[in-house]
Symmetry: C2
Subunit: 875 residues, 2 copies
């Protein structure tokens, strides 16, 4: 016959599936000799049988009575005894924690007779009576399915008739009367007297807890959290202990370490002569746990020892509930304590240094996304905030500044040292200079991967996007939220980690890069196999990346360099050139600018590889809007400004020629290099001239030239030849050898499919998973995230946003194929990834599995990537 009931102290390896989380914990604590109030657990199997039979299974209660007898013997009290009555709690406990979802009955065993027994045992009749009336109320609600409010109403009426404000003002006779009223209410409502027999109470309570497994809120909770209905809940029957029995009794909660900072030492509070609920109810102010060393020194010592034992046993910081009954300590519950990100790091490092856990375990325990928060400014959790609106948490960190509505104004005022927040319906590459100068960005449109979001994340700058409740009027220079109008120059604070937009300037706290965190990352570095490079376009970003531990620059985009205010006109002149000569003249002007860009980055990363991607975006991105130009032309015509008319006509003609239906799939990347080789020639010349200058200074620039958007081997072959030609020219001019590597992005499916042929010409591959995801799915990121992707995620058509979490079955398969084919042709092919996925932990794990050499991510993701790469290596 199946056995349904187990004493806490039975068995060696408690079975969480069978005993539930709480039951297993109680068994585990009992087993290692901690002072746990004795009791027993009725298994989840009994629950499952109950659900099938709709009644308690045969023989269950016989087993319960047998175990109850053992329990009574152990504690020296008996259920229903008039002198030494045993009271028990009856609690649910599923294999997976479902806090608050199911029912609990405390103080079971009370009736008019045992109440008097408790009164004499605790020397506190008022407490006994109050416990009894609470028990009737709880049992009535949980077991007899009566309305909580019915009991409360009676209580209120009595308090009013007595002129009492608090429950505590009720005297013993009042409580006796209240109990009488409660018993009448029960009899009237359920048509039966309240059960006085504690055994009847127990059986009814067990059945009620099993029944609560299927209550509506538990069912919804399980559906939300994908918890199987088949798990069932266990029932724990445990003897009650009384923290309110005397001055030598107490109750409290504590963490074995400070959960905010991770500092060693108990952190918590307690109340003398109180029950657990008094701590929660807030009627009396609890004392800090340190004070117990004076009030109950022996128990305090015992508690310290228990904490040590528990931490050692569970190998982690614990969150403990305890009760002291007549100086005897009982641990009621223990579990891993929730903690802040910085505490998580410190605790793990401390435990590892103490030898409690390994360094590997310390790394495994970190949640990389939580760790990420340590790297951004945060809003002071203590601050009072006036939240105006909530948008998407597009780029974490907190920023405060005055509202401005144009990138130009942001740039001017930012340059003048002002703190501004750039507010736009959405941003475009034309706004980059404003984003650079602003403290943060706020948009009313666009998703987590809109232009604003990507650029801001790339810069490590806070951004809130898609804040649709903002109605922005660019002409009035205001935005409106509901009835509130926020004008230009108003101070606001944005929290890119939560998406909050807050009125006023709110105090923020600095990122925490503690000694422990630094140490943990060093451990990670010694464990990980994947290199971690950064995507950085400026010397500042490169320096930041290096500071955060990057092993190189995996993606240095050159297009942002074209966007500077003094450069854009030259870039536009190059695009508008009507002959190769005109274009060359503009390129000649750009050459020294680009050279200084590369000089700066190569210098910042001296000795580490810098992968420079040649120009990628469609040229029309550098030209003004057609609409804007048309308007300017109309105005010039009104003015009769002949020169301007001519200029604008040329501009418009060229802009229209460059117009594209699907720019994402258009005339960009290597396609530019093939049609306008002079552009790539200028860029490679700038790179090699910078390299030559650094070499002459005795430095060690490591140059990698990366060709974007290659789809055929021939494209790469041509650009490789062009690069080699330029390299040879510059080397000859400068009289110095200029070693470099050349490779390509794999970012269209065809490149992955033809990776073998492409690898003939490539020394390295870098999977551009942003574009590869777009082309593999046929999703335009900007369009998908504002149109159908929300529905797809809500309806679980896709498990994750594939622009955030790498799509293993589709994109991943192409990556796998690309690596296999590429390495078959060139076994030493260096392979990395430089899409946004390079900073996402589960995608990093995939990269590790696939045998990539490195991931590359934004500088502020580098520590997370180092950690995630180590975690992947530990899998």
């Amino acid at each position: 016959m199946t056995r349904y009931v187990f004493q806490f102290e039975e068995g060696n390896a408690p079975d969480r599936q069978l005993l539930g989380g709480k039951g297993a914990g109680l068994a585990e604590m009992s087993r290692i000799g901690l002072p746990v109030p004795p009791g027993f657990t009725i298994t989840t199997q009994a629950c499952n049988h109950y659900q099938e039979l709709k009644r308690l299974p045969e023989g269950l209660m016989d087993e319960v009575w047998t175990h109850l007898a053992l329990l009574e013997e152990k504690v020296g009290r008996r259920l229903g005894d008039s002198k030494r009555p045993l009271l028990v709690s009856v609690r649910s406990g599923a294999p997976i924690s479902m806090p608050g979802m199911m029912d609990t009955v405390l103080n079971l065993g009370l009736n008019p007779i045992t109440t008097e027994g408790v009164a004499s045992l605790t020397h506190n009749r008022r407490f006994a009576l109050d416990s009894y009336r609470r028990f009737i109320q709880m049992f009535g609600n949980v077991v007899l399915h009566m309305e909580h409010a019915q009991f409360e109403q009676i209580l209120e009426e009595l308090k009013q008739s007595r002129g009492a404000v608090d429950d505590t003002a009720l005297a013993e006779p009042d409580l006796e009367e209240l109990i009488q009223h409660y018993q009448n209410l029960v009899r009237q409502t359920v048509g039966q007297p309240f059960p006085d027999d504690p055994r009847v109470q127990l059986e009814m309570a067990i059945e009620a807890v099993f029944g609560s497994w299927m209550n509506p809120r538990a069912v919804v909770y399980r559906r939300l959290h994908k918890i199987s209905e088949r798990l069932g809940t266990a029932v724990n029957v445990q003897s009650m202990v009384f923290g309110n029995m005397s001055e030598q009794s107490a109750t409290g909660v504590l963490f074995t370490r400070n959960p905010n900072t991770g500092e060693a030492g108990m952190y918590g509070e307690y109340l003398i002569q109180a029950q657990g609920e008094d701590v929660v109810a807030g009627i009396r102010t609890p004392n800090p746990i340190d004070q117990m060393a004076r009030e109950l020194p022996e128990t305090y010592a015992q508690l310290s020892e228990v904490c040590r034992l528990l931490e050692h046993h569970y190998r982690d910081m614990q969150d403990i509930e305890f009760t002291v009954e007549e100086q005897k300590l009982y641990v009621l519950q223990t579990r891993s304590g929730k903690r802040t990100a910085s505490a998580a790091v410190k605790i793990a490092v401390d435990l590892a240094k103490a030898g409690t856990i390994s360094q590997a375990e310390a790394i495994r325990r970190q949640d990389p996304e939580q760790v990420q928060r340590l790297l951004y400014r945060q809003i002071d959790p203590q601050a009072q905030v006036d939240v105006l609106a909530v948008g998407l948490p597009a780029s974490p960190g907190a920023a405060t500044g005055r509202v401005v509505f144009s990138a130009d104004e942001a740039e001017q005022r930012g340059a003048a040292g002002e703190s501004v927040i750039l507010v736009r319906p959405e941003t475009t590459p034309d706004d980059i200079h404003g984003i650079v100068a602003a403290q943060g960005v706020l948009t009313s449109r666009g998703g987590m991967t809109s232009h604003a979001a990507i650029v801001a994340r790339g810069m490590g700058k806070p951004a809130v996007t898609g804040c649709e409740s903002l109605k922005i009027s660019l002409s009035d220079e205001t935005f409106t939220v509901g009835n509130e109008v926020v004008a230009k120059d108003t101070w606001v604070t944005i929290d890119g980690a939560s998406g909050r937009v807050i009125r006023g300037s709110v105090p923020t706290i600095d990122p925490q890069l503690s000694a422990e965190f630094t140490e943990l990352l060093q451990w990670a570095d010694s464990i990980r196999r994947l290199g971690v490079h950064a995507n950085a376009d400026t010397p500042d970003d490169a320096a930041k990346a290096r500071e955060l531990g990057a092993n190189g620059i995996g993606l240095c985009r050159t297009e942002h360099m074209f966007m500077g205010q003094e450069r854009l006109p030259v870039v536009q002149a190059m695009i508008l050139a009507e002959s190769v000569e005109q274009r060359q003249a503009a390129l000649d002007q750009l050459l020294p600018m680009q050279q200084s860009d590369f000089y700066g980055i190569l210098r910042a990363m001296d000795g580490l590889p810098v992968t420079i991607r040649l120009l990628d975006p469609p040229l029309h991105e550098f030209l003004p809007d057609i609409g804007d130009s048309e308007e300017a032309l109309a105005q010039a015509q009104v003015r009769g400004d002949v020169a301007d008319i001519e200029r604008l006509q040329v501009l418009l003609r060229r802009t229209r020629t460059l117009f594209e239906f699907n720019p994402m799939l258009g005339f960009r990347g290597v396609r530019l290099g093939i049609v306008y080789p002079e552009i790539y020639a200028m860029q490679t010349r700038a790179i090699f001239q910078a390299q030559a200058a650094l070499l002459k200074e005795g430095l060690h620039p490591q140059v990698e030239v990366m060709i974007p958007l290659v789809g055929t081997a021939e494209e790469l072959a041509r650009m490789k030849m062009l690069t080699a030609d330029v390299n040879a020219q510059v080397a000859a001019e400068q009289g110095v050898e200029l070693p470099y590597a050349i490779g390509t992005m794999i970012e269209v499916p065809r490149a992955a499919l033809l990776a073998g042929a492409i690898a003939e010409h490539a020394e390295f591959f870098s999977f551009g998973t942003n574009d590869l995801t777009q082309t593999t799915f046929g999703y335009s990121r900007d369009d998908a995230e504002s149109k159908f992707l929300p529905t797809y995620l809500a309806e679980k058509i896709l498990p994750d946003n594939p622009f955030m979490v790498l799509d293993r079955p589709g994109v991943g398969r192409l990556i796998e194929w690309g690596i296999k084919e590429g390495r078959a042709v060139r076994p030493d092919l260096h392979v990395g990834i430089c899409g946004e996925h390079g900073g996402e932990p589960s995608s990093i794990a995939f990269c590790h599995e696939m045998g990539l050499d490195y991931v590359s991510c934004s500088p502020f993701r580098v520590p997370v990537a180092r950690l995630a790469a180590a975690q992947a290596a530990l899998e």
Copy 2:
């Protein structure tokens, strides 16, 4: 020792590599007993040795003399003989034909003495002298590398001094004087007298022909045509025959059948008493070959027999050069004759019926692209045409009509029975009704796969696109080419096969669907394994497809059905709906319209499968331009038309919401079905209601529902469920079972990569290779073809336009993978292709190799596809 020289009649299987094409042909003809002037061939190997040694190889001339002696014996004349001098031609002949690239010397053997011999032999001293002076000129040019112009100048001076206009006006003394001048010129220029010794002449000529293998134009030609330098050329030394020897001599060219129509019977012309060059020179008008039956009846009979022999031997219509010397017929050359598309079909079918070739061979010999021309109206080749401009040959066929500049006007006037040509800078889906009504389409922008081109090809309607020399002014309703202004209503003719735009109305000729062509296609049907379906959206197109032999409709697009003038407002109402109820109301209006569409197509294809693709394009394609609406709103505001303002504001808001950055990768296909299931529900209901109506009429509609743009199995699973629900509802309502198949397009790489999972839910796959090519390459077709693809093709970065010829290494690999994975899960998975590649021969061959079940192409490509599918099966 290597043997370098072979008599024509030696050997059984002439070796083209060794003897060259001409030499092998002469040997072949000699071998089968045709009357070929005797001679011998010096091998390509000798040429190669000459190239290495830079001189004629050891022993070569000894061999030549031996063979010359044999030749002299055979023809009874001797080189240099004063009475019966042998004259020979010395011609190059490479293994691969390089027409006109290398040198030839005729009449070799002439000197003052042999010239008199020829004079007495031919009874024509003037001819002998003229031959001699021509020989000096040719030898001087080819062998002695003198300028042709030098000789011509002397000739001109002489003619002027004699007052002669034509060469023929020069008398014998004049020619004697000319010869003297020529010999002086040679002596002065090369410092040596002109060689009189015929053996010296021969050795020098052979060396010159070998030398010409490396002349610059031959080198360039080989590079262009990728012909190896290692092939070398052979030299053919052949006795000259004289068609001008007497009235019983003649020369001529003929085809063994009529090359224009394919009719049996000799087709050609000849001249009595003439040499070959006289026919070409056009000094005398040749006679039709029939006349020879009267003038030289015996020779004519001999010639007929030779034609029969040649056709039988070469198993094809031949193009022959012949000479008659004193009634004796000599064949100088034979080769497969060039022919028109219709002649090619007739000849092959006739030869097959005569048992000369097999039916399979008749099919193999057709060039599908040439055959395609038979299916379109053509400009009468006899017509005089005034070409205004030439654009891209976007959709073949000729069309004549009056120029109109708006789709609305095209529709009105077309409906009134007028012939119009719609001229637009480019077309959009808004212009469909105009394209339908016009005879043809002409655009100044857009490539071979622009909207105009694709739509026109789909409709089998002539189109010329990207005609950039046209400057269109929509406001003036004119277009300008150079200085010519063409106003509205002007008659023009466009030729979509050549891209010509012609002024005026030009006579056109009907497509030729001859009995032979029909028969050939029936043979093809019995050979091919691939099914040939058609892409058709209307009952008329479906009927046309069926008439042209389609086995079903492989792609019935439903979006064009939404574009009709009476429907678009309802479609727009559906899109602008602000609630599900509003949308449902609009859909309820569309339902009967769609039902009648499907009813018509299913009826036209009764008994054959019809694959209906649910709505695919982004919804904004059905809305007006943002710019147009803004202007309309501005005007409404000026008018103060409140209702219109409100309507336009709603329209604008929704249009802006639906705006996409990359519509190709946007909110379309199944993504619409997931977010707005009510749209697909309406469409499937319309399909099943139409099916029910037809079943009740006793017909046999074969319904296949196709879900577009699927990228995840879950998308298809949802839509399959929706379809099954609607099917069950309609079946219950109509009281009839409604069998159908459901499947999906594979048109994004992820679908091919996850084909196994998708096949769990799909009964068929149809590879949408247009979109699959776009996403695999990361090319937007519209942008690529107007921007970088021309450069890619010109520079051979891609071998073909991948939108026309399926890209085997990339897209093909995905198709291969998709089929393999799909059939692994569902072995009976039906697989087709419905991109434009479905009508392209080499892509059809790939589909055959991959084991696809069918290809689907536009109705007018169906015959080509039937032929190409048979050719693939014969490979």
